[in-house]
Point group: D3
């Protein structure tokens, strides 16, 4: 049993895993699969389940695809997930995010984390108008 889970490349993957890789590439209109899926592939059931969730939640809906990527970046930065920040920043840029927008996004991430803690520390009562 290997202690580390290395990415499973397409050529080494089972038919079940390949089917998910194929769907990822077809959905994203691209010819490669990023490491998250290749590492998750050690557990085909999770690979399929998580991809199904991502496809449904990040797919067409009422929120703009670029905004969805920006939301993902904001959460990943708050949680400290370096890989997630890198991958979703790349996706956001591919969808048109400008450097000015990225700077503005980071400013909001920082400020929200600041005011979140001030509110928590001060135990601010929720205004009636917000209920």
């Amino acid at each position: 049993m290997s202690a580390i889970r290395t990415p499973i490349e397409y050529n080494d993957a089972s038919p079940e895993v390949r089917a998910v890789y194929d769907d990822i590439m077809a959905t994203r209109k691209t010819d490669w699969v990023n490491n998250f899926w290749k590492v998750l592939a050690h557990d085909p059931a999770s690979l399929r389940r998580i991809w199904t969730n991502i496809k449904e939640v990040m797919g067409p809906g009422t929120i703009d695809p670029l905004v969805k990527e920006m939301l993902y970046i904001a959460i990943s930065a708050s949680n400290g997930c370096r890989y997630c920040i890198a991958s979703h920043s790349a996706a956001a840029r591919a969808k048109g995010m400008t450097e000015a927008q990225y700077s503005e996004l980071l400013a909001i991430v920082g400020l929200a984390n600041e005011t979140n803690r001030l509110v928590t520390a001060l135990d601010v009562p929720v205004d009636e108008r917000f209920l």
Copy 2:
């Protein structure tokens, strides 16, 4: 010295604090100030400083005002700040967020928190294409 910091109402506020309250209401084109600022007002320097930051970061820029509120909600939900979720959800709704968009936003918040931890647990190496 009071153990609890109660909201300071306009009529009980110092001229320094009132000036910030006035600017908040003028900037937001509204006639009231929410509890966060009224509790923060016990420390006029922080009140002025934080408001200056919020005004600059949340003001006109390259990201749509509604999207800015949605980013704030996403971060507040990840951080578990109940007041912040309530206040920024109210602001987002006032700026036109639909129930369908709110549901989609929550779905992204949940899923990003899930995949952030999977990535972290699996210590996924960052793809060269992302660098």
Copy 3:
């Protein structure tokens, strides 16, 4: 089996639990025990173990007792533990924390949470001089 763990009062406590309560009161030179210990008392081994740790770490050392309480508040505010903020703020005030100091402490809590996320999002390389 009760679903909720209610505070165990001195008169209802076992001799083992009373011994810890007595030591808490003697160490703190006070005549009461706060709820954290009374709830933890459902598990006497944990009560004793955690109290032993707190007594050693928060006792006399090279950091001023008031500063220790301020560190506890800063961490509790970042973690969102309402009870912890309340109890350690009370302890800090009893040890002489002024309102001005509390305001300054909260400002640092907010700002550190902001810059922590900016640094993480930007993946800032550690300066050689810091190593």
Copy 4:
């Protein structure tokens, strides 16, 4: 004063530190000590205190030793502690955790982090039956 705390090897350790190393190896029936303890050894009082806690909490009790390691992994993954995930995964594997169990554990870590945020964002009222 060194800026970095390097692991202190057995041969360079004080008798006080060696005594803890010896107890770690005897308790774990192994002939080596992992880096966490060797770095913590710069502060012998903390080394002794933390080891005493780990020995008591992770030692024989009513929860199976493998389950204890799995709980540690789940928390470490949620907190983003890379070293802790690596060390407790190794310990869990040594205690018999299969790859299938590890996959299932990771799936729970991801899903719990998702639903935790959904519950928080939605401010779900606690059901009476749970109280």
Copy 5:
């Protein structure tokens, strides 16, 4: 548009939502549905999606059902989700968790959160044997 999302009772639910409620009750062999699902029901797509995930991940597998609930509690306590702690503690008790086991679980939650931060603060290098 209501600011708050109140639980949707069975009698007020759409056929799509009722189908999920029915499956929850059938799977759990119980006659009621807890508030999490009833609040999530405002977004039927998320209700169905999250329930499908929970059913797959928390269902029969290689980890004991009680252990799965304990993992959920450990994560929820680390994340500070009060509702989640209450609901999964109830589930764990229904599956046989004793008070002694619950105490032991809480002790691990506390200690893991302590050592996670010590490891992070000390930037402990991962031992080669763990890789």
Copy 6:
């Protein structure tokens, strides 16, 4: 558009950015600027805004400068920001923090993170005396 934000050196910086670098060095009575500011400099407005905040909050006040750095370390360790721990530890050492104080600080960081989770898990009711 570069995917990575590399530090902007003084010689390559715009006059606006140089003005902030100059103020940082003058305020700190030093001849260099650390990477955080050099990376933030890709967004001059954020560079100026964050520096203004840091200068005001970390400048002279009612809390000792060394204590302010220790508070920053405590929060950064809880949040898992490696760079922030390194930079503020260096600053604290430059202001006189001893190794014994650093060890004591780390012990508090660990213990506070432990008791924060115990309190949260146990949902301890706030004592009336704390309100």
